[in-house]
Amino acid sequence: MTASVAVGARARDVVGTSPARPDGIAKVQGTFQFSSDLGGDGVLWGMTLRSPHPHARIVSIDVGPAWRIDGVAAVLTADDVPGSPTYGLISHDQPVFARDVVRYVGEPIAVVAADHPETCRRALAAIHVEYEVLDPLLDPEAAIAGTHPPIHPDGNVIRHQRILCGDPDVTGEVVVEGTYELGMQDQAFLGLEAALAIPDPGGRGVELHIATQWLHEDRAQLAACLDLPVEAVRLVLGGVGGAFGAREDISLQVHCCLLALRLGRPVRMAYSRRESFLGHVHRHPARIWMRHHATADGEIVKIEARFVLDGGAYASTSSAVLLNAITHTQGPYRCPNAVVDGWAVRTNHLPCGAMRGFGVVQACFAHESQMDRLAEACDLDPVEIRLRNAMRTGDVLITGQPMESVAPVERCIRETAALPLPDEPIGGHDHDPMRLPGGAGRTADEAHVVRGIGWGVAMKNLMYSEGFDDYSTARCRLADGQATLKFATAEVGQGFVTIAAQIARTVLGVDEVELDRIDTQIGSAGSTSASRQTWMSGGAVDAACRQVRERLFELVGAAHGIDPLRLAIDGTDVVDTAGELRVPVAEATAGVVIDETVEYHHRPTEELDELGQGRCHTAFAFVAHRAVVDVDPELGLVKVVQVATAQDVGRALNPLSVVGQIEGGIAQGLGLAVMEEIVQTDGVIRNASFTDYLLPTFLDMPPVVASLVEEPDPQAPLGAKGVGEPPCISSTPAIVAAIRDALRQVDGVGRRLDRVPVRPSDIALERQ
C-alpha cells in the first residue's frame, strides 16, 4: 500500500517521520500524571508487611498492636482474601499474602491502610509475626537434583525442556567450551510501583489506576483474587514511569483493591525503592554451559548446552524465559546439530520473570563468548567467524522452525563494522581524567590504560510464543476530519502513543488524531513486552484505520458515482486514482461518523515437543554491536568509550524513537556488563537501593553510533519489527569481549571473564 504515504509538499507527522510525543510537553512541564501522582483528599495510604526470611514457617501473626495505632484504618492478611488466594502469569502459584510459609525475603504477609505513610510504617512495625526459620533452598543444582525437600506444592522444578536437533553424536574438528554466569539484574524503572484503587458503592466493583504493562491480564488475576466478575474490575492506565518487564506481574494491585473494597474508600499505594527491589520480578540469574563444535574453517557443526535459570520463589514467566533462552542457543547463526538441556528452577531467592531481552540476554552472553573462543581457536577474526555462520532467511533453526523473518544478519555485521571508530585517543585529546576508567575518582594513569574492541550479535524473537494468542485490539472513530483512537496498549515510555497517531494520519489522511484514555473499556492489547506493540497494536491500529478508510471510500464513491476501489488517500485528500476527483478528508467526513474496532492476531505458533521441536516463535529481529572500551588492568576499571550498532528494524516508523530505544537498551546492556547486579547472601538482598545497586549515569554511558537496517518484513503489518529488546542483548557480550581484547593486549593472555557483571576484581585478580 503506497498510495497513503504522504506525497504532498507539506510535512505531515506520518509514518517514517519523528513527530514530538503527544505527552511530551506534559512530561517536561511536570503536569503528566504518573500513577504515583494520583491521590486526593481523604485517600488513605496502603503499605505492605514483608518477610525478613528467605524461608520460614509462619507460627502466628498478631495484628492487634497495629490496630491500636491512631490513624490505622485497616489491617489485612491472607484471611481477608475473598477469592483465589494465589495469582501468577502462567501458573497461579504465588500467594496474595503468605499464610503458613514465606519463600523469599520480601514476600507480603499483611497490608495496612492509614492516614499517613508514617502511620503505615508504625503499624507495620507493630504487627508481630512469629517465624520458625527453615533451611532455604538457594542452590539451583539442588533443586534439579531433588536433594532439597519441595519448597512449594508445585515442586522445585518449574520447567525442564530439551532440544535435540540433527545428529547428537557428530563432532567438529574444533571444539570450544565454557561455563557462563549472569547475575540478577533489576529493571530499575524510575517510576516506582504505585496505584490508586477507587471502590464502587457497596463494594460491587473497583476501579484501579495502575502503572502496568498489561491491563487486561492484571484485571483477570485481580478479579479472581477479589472474587468479583471481570466486568466489575475496571483498570485505567496510570502514567507509567518505565517498565522493562517488571510491571508484567502483579505487585500491589490486589493489595490496593482489597484495602479499598474493605474500607469503601479510595486507597493509594506507592512502593519505596527498597520495596520495589523486593516487590517485582527480576532478570533470571543463569549458569550456562556451552560446547561448540566447528570445522577448521570455523563453520558451526554442533552446539551442546545446558541452561540453569534460577526462577526464585515463584514461577512468574520462568517457563517462557527458559523457552526463549534455550531456543536462542545458536544465536543468529546456522547450526545443523544441537543438544540442549534447560532447567528453570524454584529457590528461595527473589522471584524472577520478565526483563527486557527475556532469556535471550542470558543465551547471548554465552553464545557470543563462545563465538570469540571459536574465532581464536580457528585463528579467525571475530567479525569473520560471525559472517561465516550468519543466519539467512530460509535457514532452519534448531527447533526445526524455518527462519521466515527477514534476517539481515550479515548486513547488520557489515554495517556495524563500517561505522567509524572513536577518533579520541585514550584520555581524549584534552587529557581530561574524566575520560579515563574510574572517571571522577582520578585513579587511572593514562599510560596504563589499554583500549579493546569487542563484538556481539543477537537474534531475538518478537511477540509471544508456544501457541499463545497475544492479540491486540484497536478502535478507530473518524468524524469531521478528526480520528480518535482507542486501545488498551500500555504506554510505558516507548512511544506507542506517538506512532499510533502517525499510523492513523498515514492511513486516513487526517492531521488531527485524538487518543482516548488507555483502559479496559476495550479489548486486550496484550502486554507491552516482547518487542511486540509496534507490530501487534500498531497492526491493530493500522487495521482499524484501514477498515474506517474502506467505509469512507464507500461513502465518497457512492456520493460521486465512483467505484470505491479507485479511491486512495493522497496527503489529506481522498483522490480518484483513475480520474479527477480530489476531496479533502475533512470535507468528505463532515457530519459522518465511522467507527470500527479490530482485533489483530499474529499467526499461530506451536508448543515445543519433548525433543524441543516445533514452530514456537512468531518472528525474529537481529542486531550487531561493536564496543570500544578502555581498561585499567591494574585497578580493574572499565570505561566504555563507544558502542556502534546496526539493528534490523524492518522499517523505522519513527526514527527518533528507534534511536531512543537503541541508546536506552544499550545503557541497560552496559549496566549488566559492568555494573548492575542484585546481590543476595543466604537469600537476603544486600543492595536494595540506588546507592548500592549501580545504574549507568551520563558519565558511564558512551556515545552510540547507530545504523538502522531497514528491510521491511512482509509478515509485519507495517513492515516494522519490534526494536525494544535487541539493543540490550548483544551489547553486553560486546562490552565484555572488548574488555577481554584489551587485557589480551597487556600480556597476550586470554581471560575468560565468563561472568557478568564483570567486577574490577575479575579483571585485576584474574590476571595472576
Binding site: 517536561v28 512541564q29 524503572f189
Partner: protein, 164 residues
C-alpha cells in the same frame, strides 16, 4: 500523627502555608502531598537519582534529602515555576524535540538540572554536560538524546544572543 505547627514556604514566588504537617516530612513530600506540586518525583529517597531536583536559593538540591521545615525563608523553585503550563521554556521544548523524553519520570528533575546547568555554564562541552548532569539517572534514554537537547539549547541561545 501528632504535634504540628504552621510554617510558610516560598515556592515559585508564592508564600505557601504548610499546616498540620509532621516536622519529619521532606521537602519533596510537602511539595507533592501538602502543596499539590507534583512535578518533582520521588524515585530513590536517598539523593542518588535526581528525580526530585528543585532549586533552593538557586542551588540545585534533591528535595528528598531536605527537610521541608528547614527550607523556610528560602526561595524554592520547582518545574512548575519554570514556565507557565502550555508555554514550555526553551529547555523543556528542546527535551521534547530532541527525543529526550521517554517515560518522563526523570524528566522534571533533569529539566531542573539542565536549566540550572545552562544558567551557570551557557556553552557547556559534552563532558561538562555529562559531568554536571551525572546526578540525574535516566533508565530509558541512555542519555544520548538528553545531551543533544542541552546542546541544542546552548546553540540556540548563542545564536539568539549574537548580534544580527
Amino acid at each position: 500523627m501528632t504535634a504540628m505547627e504552621v510554617y510558610t514556604l516560598r515556592v515559585n514566588g508564592d508564600d505557601r502555608e504548610v499546616a498540620d504537617a509532621w516536622l519529619g516530612e521532606s521537602l519533596l513530600y510537602v511539595l507533592r502531598e501538602r502543596l499539590g506540586l507534583l512535578a518533582a518525583k520521588g524515585a530513590c529517597e536517598q539523593g542518588e537519582c535526581g528525580s526530585c531536583s528543585v532549586l533552593v536559593d538557586q542551588h540545585l538540591v534533591c528535595s528528598c534529602l531536605v527537610l521541608a521545615a528547614s527550607a523556610v525563608g528560602r526561595e524554592i523553585v520547582t518545574v512548575e515555576g519554570l514556565a507557565p503550563v502550555g508555554v514550555p521554556s526553551d529547555v523543556q521544548r528542546a527535551f521534547v524535540d530532541a527525543g529526550a523524553v521517554q517515560c518522563g519520570f526523570c524528566t522534571p528533575g533533569l529539566v531542573m538540572a539542565a536549566t540550572d546547568l545552562l544558567d551557570r555554564i551557557p556553552d557547556p562541552t559534552d563532558m561538562q554536560i555529562r559531568e554536571e548532569l551525572a546526578g540525574n539517572v535516566c533508565r530509558c534514554t541512555g542519555y544520548g538524546r538528553l545531551v543533544a537537547a542541552v546542546q541544542q539549547v546552548a546553540v540556540a541561545r548563542r545564536e539568539a544572543g549574537e548580534p544580527a
